[in-house]
C-alpha cells in the first residue's frame, strides 16, 4: 500500500490546532471555549501519534496516553468551575465574568 506522507498528518494537526485557537478567541460561551481547548489537545495528540509512527518509537503513544488522562482530569475540574460560575453569575457568557478586572 502506498504510504501517506507524515507531513500531511502534521498539516492536518496544524489546521485543527489553529481552528482551536480561533474558536478559543471567538466564542463567548464558557463551555464552548473549554471544548476548543479539547480540540487543541486532540490536534496535538494527532501530531504525537504521527511522530511516533515516523520514528518508529512508542514514546509518542505513551505521551498521548498521558495527554488523554490529564485532559480528563482537567475537564472534570474545569467543568466544576463552570458550574460554580454559572450558579454565581447566572450567565455563561465569558465576557460577563470579569472577576480579573483590576
Amino acid at each position: 500500500m502506498s504510504a501517506i506522507p507524515i507531513s500531511w498528518y502534521l498539516v492536518l494537526s496544524a489546521v485543527l490546532f489553529g481552528l482551536g485557537v480561533v474558536a478559543f478567541v471567538f466564542k463567548r460561551n464558557v463551555i464552548t471555549i473549554f471544548m476548543s481547548i479539547e480540540l487543541m489537545l486532540n490536534a496535538v495528540n494527532l501530531a504525537f501519534v504521527a511522530f511516533a509512527r515516523a520514528r518508529n518509537a512508542l514514546d509518542g503513544l505513551v505521551f498521548v496516553f498521558f495527554v488523554i488522562v490529564v485532559a480528563a482530569a482537567e475537564a472534570a475540574v474545569g467543568l466544576a468551575i463552570v458550574i460554580m460560575l454559572a450558579q454565581h453569575r447566572e450567565s455563561l457568557n465569558v465576557e460577563r465574568v470579569n472577576l480579573l478586572k483590576l
Binding site: M1, S2, A3, I4, P5, I6, S7, Y9, L10, V11, A14, V15, L16, G18, L19, V21, V22, A23, V25, F26, K27, R28, N29, I31, T32, M35, S36, E38, L39, N42, N45, V49, A50, R53, A54, R55, N56, L58, L61, V62, V64, F65, I68, V69, V70, A71, A72, A73, E74, A75, A76, V77, L79, A80, V82, I83, S91, L92, N93, E95
Partner: protein
C-alpha cells in the same frame, strides 16, 4: 488512489468540518457534537497510523467519557444560544486573524519541513502496528512514575471537583 489515502482525506475533511462547525455553531450542544465528530475522525486516523490502542482509548475515554461529561454539564446548565456580546475589541480585530495566521504559519512550516518529507519513506515501511503489549511494557517500565503520578492527579481532580461543585451551606 489506494484505500488509505481516500480514507485519510475523508477523515481529514470530517475533522476539519467538525472543527469549523464547532466555531460556527450557535448552540453549545451543537459544538459538543461537532467535537465528537472530530474525535471520531481522529480515531480512524490513529488506526491508519498504526496505533490501535490509542484509537480505542480515544473513543472510550475522550469521546465516551469526557465529551459525555461536557454534554451532561450543558444539559444541566441549560446552556442555550449564546448572548451576542462584543466587549473585547482586540479579540475581534486581532485575535481571530492572528489565530488563522498561526494556523497557516505552523502548517506551512510543517508541510515543508525536512522531518515531514524525510519520514515519508519511513512511514510506508513501518506499516505494522504498534502492539499493545509493547506499549504496556513501556508504560510500566520506563514510564512507571508518571503513570502512578497521574493516578494521584486523578484523585486530586476528583477531590477538587467535589469541593468546587458543592453548594455553599
Amino acid at each position: 488512489m489506494s484505500v488509505p489515502i481516500i480514507l485519510f482525506f475523508v477523515c481529514a475533511l470530517l475533522a476539519v468540518a467538525g472543527a469549523v462547525l464547532l466555531i460556527l455553531a450557535r448552540e453549545p450542544i451543537h459544538s459538543a457534537l461537532a467535537l465528537v465528530l472530530v474525535m471520531m475522525a481522529l480515531a480512524v486516523l490513529y488506526l491508519l497510523l498504526g496505533a490501535p490502542f490509542v484509537a480505542a482509548v480515544q473513543i472510550i475515554v475522550y469521546a465516551g467519557a469526557i465529551m459525555v461529561l461536557f454534554v451532561f454539564v450543558i444539559m444541566l446548565l441549560n446552556a442555550g444560544v449564546e448572548e451576542r456580546t462584543d466587549f473585547s475589541k482586540i479579540a475581534k480585530w486581532a485575535g481571530v486573524p492572528l489565530g488563522f495566521f498561526l494556523l497557516l504559519l505552523i502548517a506551512h512550516f510543517l508541510a515543508r519541513s525536512s522531518i515531514g518529507t524525510a519520514i515519508a519513506t519511513g512511514a510506508g515501511a513501518a506499516a505494522e502496528q504498534a502492539s499493545t503489549r509493547e506499549l504496556s511494557v513501556q508504560l510500566f517500565r520506563q514510564y512507571l512514575f508518571p503513570f502512578e503520578a497521574t493516578s494521584i492527579l486523578i484523585l486530586i481532580a476528583i477531590l477538587g471537583a467535589l469541593v468546587l461543585a458543592r453548594k455553599d451551606e
